[in-house]
Symmetry: C2
Subunit: 222 residues, 2 copies
Amino acid sequence: MRTLYHFWISPACRKVRLALGEKGLKFDLEIEKPWERRHELLARNPAGDVPVLVDENDIVLADSQAICEYLEETYEDVPLLPKDRIDRAETRRLVGWFDRKFFFEVTDNLVEEKIMKRLTKSGTPNTAAIRAGHHNIHYHLEYITYLVERRSWLAGDNFSYADIAAAAQLSSVDYLGDVPWEQHPTAKIWYARAKSRPSFRSILADNLPGMPAPSHYADLDF
Amino acid sequence: MRTLYHFWISPACRKVRLALGEKGLKFDLEIEKPWERRHELLARNPAGDVPVLVDENDIVLADSQAICEYLEETYEDVPLLPKDRIDRAETRRLVGWFDRKFFFEVTDNLVEEKIMKRLTKSGTPNTAAIRAGHHNIHYHLEYITYLVERRSWLAGDNFSYADIAAAAQLSSVDYLGDVPWEQHPTAKIWYARAKSRPSFRSILADNLPGMPAPSHYADLDF
């Protein structure tokens, strides 16, 4: 059976969960706490992080984008990249935007400080970082608004890895209740459409004991 | 004419310069200082960073990995990814390793603190970050050693985007004279082989007035 080693709040892991779900591929989820540096994790991925996907035939894959490109080349029935190579470049540009720019400007400032530091007992939240995350998220929601005012989905006519990368980041931050949806109604409509897809179900069911999600988190009609 | 907007010390830009060079594609280089946030740069890439490649027919591309994947799909004569999809995933895993892990653990700590803060007049170098960069680089050179003891090049039999991503990072740090080559002779031999390739020539010719490279930087027989 296909197994995804993941940590539930990690946006990179959520990206792969969404990709597998969109492609209709069944998988088991195994929770991995990368900070425990388990020998088995390091053997599968010397970088010591998740996601790690063990596909059929024991093929071991690491790095969320390497996994997504592999899934695209291996399971072609449900494409998550456009056919045209210029459209593909545009989609990958946006994947890079959310995987890195959004992550470092927003997710890392909020999820790392508010959740990960508590779980890993690695210090107190940095309030300047949290303030920066709250400030920066508006710019990204404005960019999403700009894109979906011009296109059906973020990278063009079809739901793609760009939407998956963006929704993965936003869903992590939304678990904290830190996405100012009301101030960005167009971005909210896009997210509601993404969130309604069956691939999103397991992510909306995530719940950490002692750290519950806000009530709108799993609500499709939020 | 194809034009690459770049900043000379940026490893992401060096990665694209090497990719274009390996594929035998001619290009003009235009220096862009992203911190000046020129209107023309933002119009081409809303993320406001480099590299930005304007390919033939005025196709505008941003994000180093999106550009590299586009080049691979467009100019197929000189492949920089293997044919097999599992080998491709391994190559992309290593690209991710050097683009992100090496960058944040090493390059960002050294190049950002020692060069970029001076150029952008954005504060004094953080000595703790510099110490971390000097500490972390050993682990990465050991990983390169581990790989090339088992393979001809980092990802397998052939020179690939994995070697390009790694050499791009290391060349930026090497400009500072901060790579402890003598303690990692196997990694040094791999880098000497990479550095001898014609695609490397323009990178070895880089020289910032007032901030010269150490003498071994451009020496193929260092």
